[in-house]
Symmetry: C2
Subunit: 212 residues, 2 copies
């Protein structure tokens, strides 16, 4: 299903996160043989309020039948169409250090529809653990992403060089960056940067569990 960027921009980013969660809940229901689900049960499984679920789905049309709930397969298919996650998306890893090579080795991305096709590093030959994809020098990045129509990168470089490397990614035409560097990346308007900061997540937990 094609949607205009205009429509996309109107959908809140958090709604799209929740679609991903609904999709996974629906898949589990399907695997358990369920054909319909009430909005209350689906909302509970996803950890949201039923009103939130209904509001999120209302962005995309009318779903569910009063008293019968949602058709699990149909709703799952709709969300999958919206998210565009039926096809394997190529992704490049930039920064093949400890975390980067660990993420490639992890393998969980492929299960979810993302294929890490290559890694790029300022020093492709430095000694490192086993990396299951080829590691190229940064100079090859622009040509590679153009030739392979890659749009997304996982950025795993040290904070001190993250903005500079991110600028290279933007110049190469990448428009989606999953940033693991503990720094705020300043990006052009047409680029989306999502941040995963593992240490900050732990620090946040740590704050809330401190004793009196």
């Amino acid at each position: 299903m094609k949607r205009t960027t205009r429509t996309r921009a109107r959908i809140p980013r958090k709604t799209v996160y929740r679609l991903s969660i609904y999709f996974r809940c629906l898949n589990r229901l399907q695997n358990n043989g369920l054909q319909t689900v009430s909005s209350e049960a689906l909302a509970r499984a996803a950890g949201v309020k039923p009103t939130q679920l209904r509001k999120d789905l209302a962005h995309f049309g009318q779903f569910g039948t009063r008293g019968l709930g949602y058709d699990v397969a149909q709703l799952s298919k709709m969300i999958s169409d919206v998210l565009g996650n039926q096809t394997l998306q190529p992704v490049v890893l930039v920064g093949a250090g400890n975390l980067g090579t660990a993420l490639v080795s992890y393998g969980g991305f492929a299960r979810e529809g993302f294929e890490i096709v290559a890694a790029f590093d300022v020093d492709p030959t430095r000694p490192r653990g086993r990396c299951p994809v080829p590691i190229h020098p940064m100079e090859r990045l622009a040509d590679f992403v153009r030739d392979r129509s890659v749009k997304m990168a996982i950025l795993c470089v040290p904070a001190a060089v993250a903005q500079e490397v991110a600028n290279q990614l933007f110049a190469a035409g990448l428009t989606g960056v999953l940033n693991f560097a503990p720094i705020v990346i300043h990006a052009p308007e047409d680029v989306i940067v999502n941040n995963v900061n593992l240490a900050i997540e732990l620090e946040n937990l740590s704050y809330f569990i401190q004793d009196e």
Copy 2:
């Protein structure tokens, strides 16, 4: 600095996330030899509005001098006290599969004040990549976290068993869980669960960068 749980509960979780980011920005400024910083400059570095920064800091007292800005060292020390990140916090890894062992090998947590002291797995002897900490059977978890006063766990088990394993963590007395399983964990009220879902982050990016 000791703060009451009552105070902690009043501080929004997102404010605490932003404190972690301010702290990292201040450290970079300090490393660059700066002694004071305006709220505008610090906010820009952290990717927030100056009003947001001032509002976040107002939770913890009065900082900064009109016209002079913040004392970098003093503000950094205050945030560090609030976050309690001066001491190395012990953390256990639960689920020593591909992602779990990758995260232990990464090493970035230690730099940020968290020490992964041990891993636990239903099958500690199954073949896996090098894991730099001992891997114990799940049965030893409760005793271990009690003896070592561990409060936080990184949960890296498959979605299908994540809730069941999480329940074991709660029963063992762990009160902070960083969950990597792509599932919503239902937790007791006195437990904090933060979620990191790498595939959902990529899916979210992927949605927003789709062509028209």
